[in-house]
Amino acid sequence: MIRAFVSGLRVDLLQLIRSPFDMVGMLVWPLVFASIAFLLLGHETGERTLFTAALGAAVMIMWGWVILGAGFALDTQREQGTLELVVGAPTPLVVLISPVMIARAVFGVYGLVLTLLWGRLVFGIPFLIDDWAAFFFAAVGCILAIGTLGLIAASTFVLYRAAFYFGISLQYPVYIACGLILPFSVLPGWLRPVSWLLAPTWGFRALREAASAQAPWPDIGVCFGLSAVYILIAIPCLAFFEHLARDRATLKLA
């Protein structure tokens, strides 16, 4: 199963980097998100706040790539007829779908680095990372948590033929619920408990706390813990939606 996972990761990354269209999007998207964040806040804002905004933009990119990229990847698999072959394989579906999510989230690291570099080179925002070791683990925890949350969403993508559009509908609600677009102070109070269930909330907190060396480990721990919980939820979800897809004949495009 480990071989199938690693092989799936390799296949997905190869597919991704061999698509000029995808690669242009990957290059432009982080720069646009980061620029919007920096320009909205303005130069008079403190460097720490701008750096934190860059981290928030990077987390948004990670979630965006996971949820849209995974939806697009499954649509493509359905279109090219490989989804049936993957579902019809003796390896559990979770092992074959999770590399798609993780590959997208790993590209989120590239998005993070590109965002910070863009901030440094174009907007003059220094790298304000006080605890590099904690920051590294925070990044890994953030990727895992966001990737595995995407896995739960992906279980529905196996069923629905319009996975990409379903992915779009999940993108901004999560940004908002996690306080990445608007501060929690302006959001309704009931959204706060919702945000605690979502990986980007804790991923962002872990990165922010690690960068400023303010006790990041509990947040990093939550990221890893949430990843385990998400996987436990995703396994039966995938089995359930696979069963439905076999019942409703939606594994094929037409």
């Binding site: 092989s7 390799r10 061999r18 490989t82 072959l85 019809g88 390896t91 074959l96 076999r246």
Partner: protein, 290 residues
């Protein structure tokens, strides 16, 4: 419908579009759940024991789909070998053997998007055989192939049959079924209307004659008149641009040529021949019955 396939047999499922051939294969390969009835593959239930079935069957379908186009053939096979649990030690050897079998050695590092349809189809076969399944499902594997590619693929299928694999083949090409299959079943509207060896099916029309008329500009009204002629059992029409080939089945000895020519007097008839019925004629007869 109900049928069984013996170990080592190449069994053909024939039928018009929408008859239920692909649906049957998808149920047998665990990709669809049946609404009723029961199925067994090597004694396992595809509904309750999908993993037992999946590790023992290979599924190959026709057409351009089912491969990662941006990857090389080698990358595709490596991935599916891992997904279908080919032991790591055997993977390289198995892939090399299969590339040789399907004639893709030397092109394995090229991206699949540069492959012809025939090459893709042969790669499909290799993919379906990676885990050395005892049972193979071939769903219209020669569809869209040029004559040479189709013939090469049939040779590969025959070699698989001779090596002892159990194969379930669906096809629209009757000569293909006649050449390859030990037994066939004809499905129409979700029901088996005939089952047996190609020879026994042909025997069902041995008392008949087929008159083949090649003509231009035959109107629908004229075709209807042909159908209603006394002695005509069935009519199949193949059209190519303005030309039509009419295959008229009738009882042996029926004097139909003159009435046929009279009915087609407004069309330009270029040839009329009478011949012995083929498996295709038997098939047309079976699926034409109300």
């Amino acid at each position: 419908m109900s049928f069984s396939v013996e170990p080592g047999e190449l069994f053909g499922l024939l039928g018009p579009n929408g008859a239920g051939k692909t649906t049957s294969i998808k149920i047998l390969t665990t990709l669809l759940l049946p609404t009723s009835g029961s199925v067994r593959v090597l004694g396992f239930d595809p509904v309750r024991q999908p993993n037992e079935v999946r590790s023992r069957v290979g599924y190959v379908f026709g057409g351009d789909r089912g491969l990662y186009d941006r990857l090389s053939a080698l990358d595709n096979l490596r991935y599916f070998a891992d997904v279908y649990r080919v032991p790591a030690r055997q993977k390289g050897k198995r892939i090399a053997e299969l590339l040789e079998l399907v004639g893709l050695t030397g092109r394995e590092r090229d991206r699949v998007e540069t492959y012809s349809r025939g090459m893709r189809q042969r790669l499909h076969i290799a993919r379906g055989l990676l885990h050395d399944p005892p049972v193979i499902f071939l769903d219209e594997p020669t569809i869209g192939l040029d004559p040479v590619g189709a013939r090469e693929l049939r040779e590969t299928v025959a070699a698989l049959r001779d090596s002892g694999k159990t194969i379930l083949l669906t096809t629209h090409y009757m000569f293909e079924a006649d050449e390859l299959c030990g037994r066939v079943a004809v499905i129409n509207k979700g029901r088996i209307v005939a089952e047996g060896t190609p020879k026994s099916l042909k025997a069902g029309v041995h008392d008949r004659t087929v008159i083949e008329v090649v003509a231009f500009n035959v109107s629908e009204a004229a075709l209807e008149s042909v159908r209603s002629l006394d002695g005509v059992d069935s009519l199949a029409v193949e059209a190519e641009d303005q030309m039509q080939v009419l295959s008229v089945q009738s009882a042996r000895g029926a004097a139909l040529i003159q009435p046929l020519l009279a009915t087609l007097s407004d069309a330009q008839v270029t040839s009329v021949t009478a011949r012995e019925p083929t498996l295709e004629d038997a098939y047309v007869q079976l699926v034409s019955e109300p």
